[in-house]
């Protein structure tokens, strides 16, 4: 289930880097920064969701109610 998420994040990183390179070459640097920001935001939402799942899982076992 979860190994795919890892590849998705790496893929997003690669795609964002490629797009930034292309935009930089066609001297549209402002769009390049926006694209890299959007890529970062997507990745961070996935990471935060995973952290939430982990905390729920641990809460299920140890009943910390933390």
């Amino acid at each position: 289930m979860n190994i795919g998420i890892l590849f998705k994040i790496a893929a997003v990183g690669l795609i964002v880097t490629v797009i930034c390179q292309i935009l930089k070459k066609s001297d549209r640097d402002d769009i390049a920064t926006v694209v890299s920001l959007v890529g970062l935001v997507i990745v961070l939402t996935v990471v935060v969701q995973m952290i939430g799942d982990l905390f729920e899982e641990i809460n299920g076992i140890f009943q910390i109610y933390g």
Partner: protein, 128 residues
Amino acid sequence: MIQIVSVGLVTAIAAMLLKSLKPDLAFAVTICGGIILLLCAVDLLKDTVSVFWEIADTTGLDASLIKLLLKMIGIGYLTEFSSQLISEFGSPSVADKVVLCGKIMILLLSVPIVKSLLELIQCFLAFV
């Protein structure tokens, strides 16, 4: 076991690859790999916790003690995970503070146990 090792290797390789391209995405990949490993560990942990409860039922131990014990283990587990996560982000001072708070919370949890122990000793002394 092999799955865990393979996930670790894949995370390390992906992080190394991404480090050269985009450093901030690299640490996201390492965090996701860490979380995946921890999810596997938590699944393994589920069985041992049920054994805990069986022992508690057979020996007739007070359920609240076991609950407190499990809570302490959980807090230790969580503080360890989050402090390493924070030091991964690059601020070890905050990570140490999280560890300190975790210790204080565990201490806070242990107060009722100590109190019940003292009461137990007092009633023993009452017999003497």
